[in-house]
């Protein structure tokens, strides 16, 4: 052990190892942050969440960083809610049951580009008689445009930007553009900046009835990583994907390497048929293509990440690595000190674990480290093929969604780039560390 620690100190001398360690450190910090800030159950709920959860996000927009590019002035999402700001509402009781109200929602719009979407959500509380409302739009120059009027139920969604009638009256411009355009005929349309107002006036027909409204001005950017086709904030998946990727990679690597090593040692030491069985199993497994097996398991049995983990570990154990360990142990087995140990009475198990395996640790450590990213990539590959865990937000899942929704074709590059960059960083970090470790610990590569 002391020998190992001493050697690990040498790592400082390898710049690539230092960089690798920094990257891994960042990833770990990210993972811890993810787990602390959003507990697991919450993350899963969010990721599965339907419209109800994500309704306040725009759909398919890039990250807010985009606004740092010159000439880009995309709006961010603005949410106005009468419940949050009761002063916007004025009520006047007209008669015993009837109440007239006006909700005015002003906002300042100063972006250079148009919002992505425009929606209003009304909720009303009543017993029998539905309230009646009239909605109008007031532009900075004072122009008032009537949007809709009618009865509302307990929850009504008014998708302003999808109102075809409105669109026709705006000279064919889509409402989110037309309602903000300076001049309806201009091509391309220009944003008219200034004070806007959404005014809702209406009547309540019951004494205890109430009404509230919410206006969402969907931005053209959102958050750190943008949103996907289900309005989900991609950064949640990226954030939570980190601990999942790391722990998956780590567990699979641990399981594979340690079990492989122990199995090889036991096989070599006890020899005869134990060794023979292990070899035969390995040879069969080497012929099989692991991806094919995983696809079969995923399609026919279960896509649960634990099942995949188990299959991957088993396939990894009976693969080329066990043969490498086997030849290493066969060499070590001949060492005089092993014979000496037998002469002073060491039992088989002790020899395997205390005399053979410690010699293999310098080989195991770098192999373990470089295996982690390979397994992370494997998980992403499976997800991309549609075999990812259906519940968990992983990087591979993000990529799968992107691909299924034609991200590159539609120009949503951010959707593909961010998980890819994270995958590459993971691979880079562990590989650099792993190669440096290999140079230090593998005696044959010393001095290179």
């Amino acid at each position: 052990m002391h020998a190992l620690k001493r050697r690990l100190n040498e790592l400082k001398e390898y710049p690539s190892a230092v960089v690798g360690l920094i990257i891994i450190g960042l990833l770990i910090v990210l993972s811890i942050y993810a787990v602390i800030s959003i507990p697991y159950a919450e993350a899963v709920r969010l990721w599965r969440g339907g419209e109800g959860v994500w309704i306040e996000n725009p759909r398919n927009v890039p990250p807010a960083l985009v606004n740092m590019l010159p000439g880009v002035d995309r709006p961010e999402t603005m949410i106005l809610s009468s419940q949050d700001q009761p002063e916007l509402k004025e009520r006047e009781q007209i008669s015993e049951d009837v109440t007239e109200f006006v909700i005015s929602m002003p906002f300042t719009y100063e972006y250079g580009e148009f919002p992505r979407e425009l929606s209003a959500f009304f909720s009303a509380d009543y017993e029998d008689t539905r309230p009646f409302i009239e909605v109008s739009w007031i532009k900075p120059d004072g122009e008032e445009i009537e949007l809709m009027d009618g009865n509302v139920t307990d929850r009504t969604s008014y998708r302003i930007s999808q109102d075809r009638g409105l669109q026709r009256s705006l000279d064919g411009l889509r409402p989110q553009i037309g309602l903000f355009a300076r001049d309806l005929e201009a091509d391309p349309p220009q944003v008219q900046t200034g004070e806007y107002e959404l005014r809702i006036s209406g009547y309540l027909f019951e004494e205890d009835a109430s009404f509230s409204a919410e206006l969402i001005n969907y931005g053209q950017v959102h958050g750190l990583a943008g949103t996907d086709h289900r309005r989900r904030d991609i950064s949640i998946a990226l954030l939570w994907g980190t601990p999942i990727a790391l722990s998956f990679g780590f567990l699979a690597a641990v399981g594979s390497t340690i079990i492989t090593m122990v199995l090889a040692a036991v096989g070599v030491w006890y020899s005869r048929w134990v060794d023979g069985i292990i070899q035969k199993l390995t040879e069969v497994s080497l012929i099989l293509n692991p991806l094919v097996v995983l696809v079969m398991v995923g399609t026919l049995y279960s896509r649960s990440i634990w099942v995949m983990l188990g299959v991957i570990i088993v396939l990894n154990i009976f693969s080329g690595a066990i043969k490498i360990y086997r030849s290493l142990f066969m060499q070590i087995k001949q060492a005089p000190y092993v014979e000496a140990a037998r002469s002073y009475g060491a039992r088989n198990l002790r020899i395997v674990f205390r005399y053979l395996i410690p010699r293999a640790v310098p080989v195991l450590v770098p192999q373990f480290v470089t295996l982690i990213p390979a397994l992370v990539f494997l998980e992403a590959t499976l997800a991309l093929l549609g075999l990812g865990d259906p519940v968990l937000p992983t990087w591979g899942k993000v990529l799968e969604d992107a691909q299924a929704n034609g991200a590159l074709y539609l120009g949503y590059y951010y959707w593909v780039l961010s998980p890819s960059i994270l995958l590459i960083l993971t691979g880079l970090g562990f590989s650099m560390l792993g190669f440096a470790l290999d140079r230090i610990l593998n005696p044959r590569l010393r001095g290179m």
């Binding site: 002391h2 020998a3 060492a335 005089p336 000190y337 014979e339 000496a340 140990a341 037998r342 002469s343 002073y344 009475g345 060491a346 039992r347 002790r350 205390r354 005399y355 410690p358 010699r359």
Partner: protein, 334 residues
């Protein structure tokens, strides 16, 4: 006929010992056997030091391993005290292993490179049930002090590669001795060390042997060191002991042609040597898989008696009580 040289009760008695290795083709087809130990008899007293001299390939290492219980004999028996050794008897072997120490040729290879000296010395004790750590410490301290590795604390933390060859071998000796065995088998303990260090190690071993009344089997190919180490000497050739006797007697009065050739082949550092050619037989040591018929040495023997030596293996003839030879020159083929 036992060889009683008046030293005390017999500790190790080897009778008609045979250790053969089967050569197999394709894993199961028997195509022959390597007769590494082919009919060895000797008697070792408590506290006695004996040298077994032979060249590489004569079977001496296999003999060592068979005595140690690391190798199961295929014929004959090994008696230790009043027990017959049986390698399949777990309990007996566990007990036996604590009675015998093993010193190997390669000092660096004999020590696990990832263990400190302390761990190396503790292993035999832990395995053999020395539970109290203070007792272990005492034993370690004593062992290292006897082997002149002081201050003890300094050495306990070191790893094998931080020690010189001589120091490494001393750790090996300490480890062999730490359970107070009755017998130590040392296989070429100094041949990988520098000449000026060899003497030191042999002397230390000799001292330990005397002080603790430990029987030592010293296996070597270097006949010139034998005088400084043991009272008796056995000469091994082709898996058999072809001459046995007291060291001084053999060195002055060797009888077997092979022993005589060995003595002739060894040089003393004498500048006059330049002018003399050694009269040694040519040829190669015999293959243990396909040994010559009759006396194993006959193809190379300058005194070969055709008709006898090439046909019948010679029995052991007694020259004196202590001096035995297996050679047709000294007896009748009757």
């Amino acid at each position: 006929m036992t060889e009683n040289n008046g030293l005390g009760p017999s500790l190790l008695r080897v009778q008609d010992l045979e250790t053969f290795f089967t050569l197999r083709k394709w894993g199961f087809l028997r195509v022959g056997e390597v007769r590494a130990v082919d009919g060895v008899n000797f008697d070792l007293r408590e506290g006695e030091a004996v040298s077994i001299v032979g060249e590489s390939g004569c079977g001496k290492s296999t003999l060592a391993k068979t005595i140690l219980g690391l190798q199961q004999p295929t014929g004959g028996s090994v008696h230790f005290g009043d027990q017959v050794l049986d390698t399949s008897d777990r309990r007996q072997m566990d007990w036996y292993r604590a009675q015998v120490g093993y010193i190997q040729q390669d000092p660096y290879g004999a020590l696990p490179p990832f263990m400190t000296v302390r761990r190396i010395l503790e292993e035999p004790m832990i395995i053999n049930g020395v539970k109290s750590s203070s007792e272990r410490w005492q034993r370690m301290e004593k062992a290292l002090t006897e082997l002149k590795m002081t201050p003890v604390e300094e050495f306990l933390h070191k790893f094998p590669h931080q020690l010189s060859g001589g120091q490494q071998q001393r750790v090996v000796i300490a480890r062999a001795k730490i359970l107070d065995p009755q017998l130590i088998v040392s296989d070429e303990p100094v041949s990988m060390l520098d000449p000026s260090v060899r003497v030191e190690i042999l002397e230390l071993l000799r001292l330990l042997q005397r002080d603790y009344h430990v029987a030592v089997v010293y296996i070597t190919h270097d006949l010139s060191t034998v005088r400084y180490f043991s009272e008796r000497i056995f000469v091994m050739y082709g898996g058999q002991l072809i001459e046995k006797g007291l060291v001084e007697e053999i060195l002055r009065n060797a009888k077997h042609p092979y022993t005589m050739a060995l003595l002739e082949a060894i040089s003393d550092p004498d500048p006059e040597n330049v002018n003399t050619f050694k009269k040694v037989p040519g040829g190669e040591p015999p293959s243990l898989a396909n040994p010559p018929a009759g006396c194993r040495f006959h193809p190379r023997c300058p005194y070969r008696i055709d008709g006898t030596c090439d046909q019948k293996p010679p029995p052991e003839f007694t020259m004196t009580e202590q001096h035995r030879v297996s050679c047709w020159l000294y007896g009748d083929a009757s």
